[in-house]
């Protein structure tokens, strides 16, 4: 994989997890409630599991920053994204569609939807790009323009998509 693509994957996943971990830390009690809502663990485990998830997300961010720990960060990110996809999937199968997903920082009232499972799997695929062997090409300044622009566009597109999907829930 070309170095520029790998770097885009690192910045996109890094940015996503940074925003996610900040949101969870600032609204830890709401996040704990969301974890409780998923009903995947005993209620005594809710707080430790929520704390562990925040810690793991923080580890993803720090691991992605360092070049030599980047692969560990990517694997952890993939596992977390698939875990969240699984949690949402299980609850959708249980028919609990009025559950708050706890996965967005734009709108506090997002309910779980099949699209979120797909979104998490797609993000896991993006994180998978980091694991592909790089071609070691030296990046030019134009590559840096592309990397920064792609990351900014991803951020805007993600926020817009989140905002737009939140109304479809309110209006249904």
């Amino acid at each position: 994989m070309d170095s520029a693509f790998s770097l885009v994957a690192v910045t996109v996943i890094g940015l996503l997890f940074t925003a996610s971990v900040l949101h969870k830390l600032f609204n830890f009690s709401a996040f704990t409630e969301s974890v409780r809502g998923y009903r995947l663990f005993g209620s005594g485990l809710t707080q430790p599991v929520a704390g562990l998830l925040v810690l793991l997300e923080l580890m993803v961010v720090f691991a992605l920053v360092q070049a030599d720990t980047r692969e560990v960060g990517a694997i952890l990110a993939i596992l977390l994204l698939l875990l969240y996809a699984g949690g949402i999937g299980i609850n959708l199968l249980r028919g609990r569609t009025s559950l708050h997903c706890g996965c967005s920082w734009g709108n506090g009232q997002q309910l779980i939807k099949p699209g979120q499972v797909l979104r998490n799997i797609s993000l896991a695929v993006v994180a998978g790009i980091i694991l592909l062997p790089g071609n070691g090409r030296e990046l030019l300044w134009l590559d840096w323009v592309s990397v920064i622009a792609t990351t900014v566009i991803f951020a805007f597109a993600y926020l817009a998509a989140e905002r737009l999907t939140s109304f479809s829930v309110n209006l249904r």
């Binding site: 134009l142 566009i153 109304f167």
Partner: protein, 203 residues
């Protein structure tokens, strides 16, 4: 074309795409703002078979306090009933409970609030305790939810003193709850009716 020209056009193209992404995001936010400011007349009706203006479904339920109460029956004392359906697992419901409490105080001369849920009484009471609403009448009845076609929570229904359904629908905010009262005062059934009426007037 020189390398410099290619590089400049490349950077400019990226800039254009970034600006377009920004514009799309701002537009999406604007649509959200419009949704939040939408006309306050009746909660969003879910087209669920309940007919506004007709007699509300009468269901006799057992209250958590042990007494029996017939929801939907005419009230000889001339007071209306606000039926609020909630669940301990729904975060929006938790946000709305203090609003329900506040509005029951401000509208206390004509409204009785009845809280309704389904499931574990202890969980429901814990939520009410945290909102300091233990004194509110609570019933846990699946039959009541089915009778009022509650599909999504939080859901509210306003029943007038004659037992007629004045408005019912999904409520997500203070504006939605207040719109239930407004709907009664203005005689508008629900949000869709209000909007289509306005659109007809403009034509």
């Amino acid at each position: 074309m020189s390398d410099l020209t290619v590089a400049i056009s490349f950077v400019l193209l990226w800039l254009v795409v970034v600006v377009m992404a920004l514009v799309i995001w701002v537009l999406a936010r604007q649509i959200g703002v419009l949704h939040e400011r939408i006309a306050p007349a009746g909660a969003l009706s879910l087209r669920n078979g309940l007919s506004i203006g007709d007699a509300a479904p009468q269901v006799t339920v057992e209250m958590v306090s042990g007494s029996q109460r017939t929801i939907g029956a005419a009230n000889p004392s001339g007071r209306s009933t606000l039926l609020f359906f909630f669940s301990p697992t729904c975060p929006v419901c938790k946000e709305l409970l203090p609003i329900i409490k506040h509005s029951s105080q401000s509208e206390q001369d004509w409204i009785d609030v009845v809280l309704a849920g389904d499931g574990d009484p202890a969980e429901h009471q814990k939520i009410l305790q945290s909102a300091q609403m233990q004194a509110f009448p609570l019933t846990l009845s699946a039959a009541l939810g089915i009778a009022y076609h509650v599909g999504k929570l939080p859901y509210a229904a306003l029943i007038d003193e004659q037992g007629l359904l004045q408005s019912a629908g999904l409520v997500n905010s203070r504006e939605h709850i207040e719109s239930l009262y407004e709907a009664k005062e203005m005689g508008v059934k629900d949000l869709q009716t209000y909007l289509s009426h306005n659109a007809a007037e403009r034509r």
